[in-house]
């Protein structure tokens, strides 16, 4: 057919080519081929270009957009390989490492808080920011942190916050000295050892704080406390001893200094007094020299005493300095019991300083007075000497002691003397006037000087008094502080006592409650055990009773069983007899079926059926079956399968010949056609029928071959069914055969049922030996 088409196409092409003038077939074909080839190449090229463009664009876009790449890989098979080749493996999700980082950050903070607590030595750095400890253990901790699962992320964050909050809250301050430097340290240490509420010695505690946080046993605590107390006592004793010593020495030195100063004061006042006397009093010359001698003695005395006072003062200052240093040292020890001693020592020191200063000021004022008086005496002496010189210059021959020369003087000398005196008086008057004039200025200058000196003195006095006042205030404050501390201690002690009392009450209550609970529990246990025992006893009783009843029942049942068995034996024997009879009659019926020869039906089954009916009067099933035998078989008998088979073989050719004839096709011509078909058509003599018949299988020839096969293999039923499918004339032809076959089948079915039933009954009643 294809060749025909090609030939036709070629012929038409040839015709077309012939129609076009002057062109040969070859050229025609060539041109068309050429044109088509160039067009094809164009198409191919554009196609390739488009495809490559599409693929390249997809790859580029996939490189840029990962979601698109994922979508393409999911939807298009094998695209993941191509994209992997082109772009490399798909990138992992970026969000996950960030999450991991966050998780890592959270648990390390939790871990390092836990690590920090046992490390008591790092308490020194507690006050530093919490960030610095985080950096130290974080590299160590990242490994275990990575094993922590994501689900605990939130929980760990919360725990972190809680733990950090707990660690940063300042613990309850124990009654330590509130020194600014190491307060938190001491407090943390105190908090760690909650069972040492008494005064804690921090230095002794710090080595013990290196242990892990656990409560130490009571004996250890008591021992430690005793040790601490002992140490305290020792130090106290030493400190008090040193303080007393230094106090005593400084007191002695101060007293000495004060004494010396007072002596000096006395000497100075004495000397001043004597000087004043010497200046003012008009005494005879012998007494004057005695007076001057006294004065000199007094001066010597004064200088000596002043020197002594100075040295004593120095000594006293030294002693006081030493005392101060001792006081500072003892303050540095920071023991509470030392404090009142220190306070007392400080007060004493202060008093001594105050006294010393007072005496020193007295001495200084006396000295200043003395200075004034000595200045005055010097001036007077100077004036006297001046006058003496003037007089001697005027009257050189006259001696110094001119008072005794009243008669020796001449009038000239006297005049000169009087003139000199007048001149002197004028001069002095002038000087006086000048002095009066400059009085104010001198007074002002003097006042100024005095003011300055007064200012200086005032300042000095103010400073010293300020210092004294400050010292006083400080001492007062310290005293008040000590008092307050004592009060607080007492208060704390009462509170603690109260707490202890409350605790004992609470413990008593709890113990009472526990006792009750335990008692109730014990009662309950006892009652349950009793109940158990009782129930067990009852159970055993019941069991015994039950067993006895059971035994009785079984014995009775056995007896009954035996009686029944004997009865049923008889019945069973009867049954067996009847079953045997039935079986025999059924066998007889079966035998009659076999009496069929070729083309001769069997003996009529009437008698055998009668026998069967007789032998199963009371059996409905067998009666029904026996009466279900068809009438024909009873009166005439049935054909055997072999005869039916032989008949079928002869029928088959006939049926083949009239295969085309039915209601509508039954003219003679149709008969001729049917005969022709039967002559020309060949089919299998026997063909195995399929399990399901389709429309093609309803062809009469096929059906006949299936039926043949079935008959050859002994399946009469299937053969009858297949033959039943014939239609039209063929069906009419095989109608009788079909009826016979049905009859045979029916009879055989009934007989087989009966025999099966008889066998079953027989088996049922048969008793094994």
């Amino acid at each position: 057919m294809l060749r025909a088409c090609l030939r036709g196409a070629n012929a038409t092409a040839r015709n077309h080519c012939r129609r076009s003038p002057g062109t040969s077939l070859q050229h025609c074909r060539h041109y068309t081929a050429g044109e088509s080839s160039s067009g094809a190449s164009k198409v191919i090229a554009t196609g390739l270009l488009t495809v490559s463009g599409g693929v390249g664009g997809t790859i580029l876009y996939a490189k840029w957009d990962h979601k698109f790449r994922a979508a393409v890989e999911k939807n298009v098979p094998y695209s993941d390989r191509l994209l992997g080749l082109a772009l490399g493996p798909a990138p992992q999700d970026v969000g996950l490492p960030v999450k991991n980082q966050v998780e890592l950050a959270q648990p390390p903070s939790m871990m390092e808080k836990q690590v920090k607590a046992p490390k008591a030595k790092s308490e020194k750095k507690v006050k530093d920011s919490a960030g610095s400890p985080a950096k130290e253990p974080s590299p160590v901790v990242t490994q275990p942190a990575q094993s922590i699962e994501e689900m605990s992320q939130e929980a760990s964050a919360e725990a972190t916050h809680i733990i950090s909050a707990i660690s940063e809250v300042p613990s309850v301050p124990a009654p330590c000295d509130t020194e600014a430097a190491a307060v938190k340290e001491e407090c943390k240490e105190c908090h760690d050892h909650k069972d040492t509420p008494a005064a804690v010695h921090p230095n002794a505690e710090s080595p013990s704080a290196a242990e892990p946080l656990k409560e130490r046993p009571v004996e250890e605590v008591a021992a430690r406390l005793a040790q601490q107390d002992q140490e305290e006592q020792d130090i106290l004793a030493s400190v008090s001893a040193s303080l007393e010593e230094s106090l005593a020495s400084s007191a002695k030195a101060t007293l000495q200094a004060i004494g010396a100063q007072e002596a000096a004061l006395q000497a100075i006042t004495q000397h001043t007094h004597k000087l004043k006397e010497a200046m003012e009093a008009e005494v005879p010359p012998q007494e004057k020299s005695a007076q001057w001698k006294d004065l000199e003695a007094a001066l010597a005395d004064r200088t000596c005493s002043v020197n002594d006072a100075g040295t004593a003062l120095l000594k006293a200052n030294e002693a006081l300095g030493a005392l101060r240093s001792v006081i500072d040292d003892s303050k540095g020890l920071k023991i509470a019991a030392v404090h009142p001693l220190v306070l007392a020592a400080e007060e004493n020191l202060h008093n001594m300083i105050v006294d010393l200063d007072k005496v020193v000021t007295k001495v200084q004022s006396a000295e200043s007075e003395a200075k004034i008086v000595s200045q005055y005496s010097e001036l007077v002496n100077e004036a006297k000497q001046q006058f003496q010189r003037e007089v001697s210059s005027l009257t050189p021959e006259i001696q110094a002691n001119w008072k005794g020369l009243t008669g020796k003087l001449s009038a000239d000398d006297l005049n000169a003397l009087i003139a000199h005196a007048h001149r002197r008086i004028d001069q002095l008057n002038r000087e006086l006037a000048e002095q009066r004039v400059r009085e104010q200025i001198h007074i002002d200058a003097a006042l100024e000087q005095q003011k300055l000196e007064d200012q200086k003195a005032l300042e000095k006095a103010v400073n010293t008094s300020l210092q004294h006042v400050k010292e006083d205030a400080r001492l007062e404050q310290e005293r008040k502080l000590a008092e307050l501390r004592e009060v607080m201690e007492a208060e704390m002690r009462t509170q603690l006592r109260r707490q202890a009392a409350a605790h004992t009450d609470h413990v008593q209550d709890v113990l009472k409650v526990q006792e009750q609970e335990l008692r109730a529990e014990a009662d309950q246990v006892l009652s349950s055990k009793m109940l158990e025992q009782e129930t067990r006893y009852r159970q055993l009783n019941q069991e015994q009773l039950d067993n006895f009843t059971l035994d009785m029942n079984t014995a009775y049942a056995r007896l009954k069983g035996m009686e029944e068995a004997i009865d049923s034996h008889v019945v069973a024997e009867e049954e067996a007899r009847r079953a045997h009879q039935l079986w025999l009659s059924v066998e007889a019926l079966n035998y009659t079926l076999k009496t069929a020869d070729a083309d001769v039906p069997t003996v009529p089954l009437k008698s055998a059926a009668e026998a069967v009916r007789d032998s199963c009067h009371d059996n409905d099933f067998a009666m029904a079956l026996a009466s279900a035998l068809p009438e024909e078989s009873l009166h005439r008998g049935v054909y055997s399968e072999a005869s039916l088979r032989a008949r079928f073989n002869s029928l088959r050719s006939l049926a083949r010949r009239v295969a085309l004839i039915d209601e509508s096709h039954n003219s003679l011509y149709q008969y001729f056609l049917s005969y022709l078909q039967a002559a020309l058509l060949f089919e299998d003599k026997q063909e195995a029928p399929p399990t399901q018949l389709s429309r093609e299988d309803l062809d009469p020839f096929k059906l006949l071959s299936y039926a043949s096969y079935c008959l050859e293999h002994g399946d009469l039923e299937l053969a009858a069914k297949l033959v039943n499918q014939l239609r039209g004339e063929a069906r009419r032809v095989v109608e009788d055969w079909l009826t016979e076959a049905r009859l045979t089948l029916e009879t055989r079915q009934v007989v087989s049922l009966l025999s099966a039933y008889a066998n079953a009954v027989g088996l049922g009643t048969t008793q094994a030996p």
Binding site: S650, L654, N666, V734
Partner: protein, 103 residues
């Protein structure tokens, strides 16, 4: 036997055909000799008529089963149907009984 019917029909057909052909031929010859100056046409007419009649008879006979006669219309058919139905009923009753007993 239903398979022998067709054979019988064919026998009748042939016999009938032979008779009619012979008769036709004979009458044709007679008429040709007697009335139609020994033309062949009456012979062929006669034999043809005879053959045609035989053909028609045969066809009718073979068809006779499929043609419904006025009187027998319902009766024949219904008898056949009735026998089929009774057979089916019997088989059905038997199988039901067997099923009940087995149960």
């Amino acid at each position: 036997m239903s398979e022998k019917e067709l054979g019988k029909k064919w026998d009748r057909c042939l016999a009938d055909g032979a008779i009619k052909l012979g008769t036709g031929l004979g009458l044709g010859i007679v008429f040709s000799v007697l009335f139609f100056k020994r033309h062949t046409w009456p012979i062929s007419l006669g034999s043809g008529a005879g053959l045609g009649m035989a053909y028609a008879n045969c066809q009718n006979d073979l068809r006779s089963h499929y043609l419904l006669h006025k009187s027998e219309k319902v009766g024949c058919r219904s008898a056949f149907v009735r026998t089929c139905v009774s057979c089916c009923e019997r088989v059905e009753k038997l199988t039901n009984f067997v099923n009940n007993c087995v149960r």
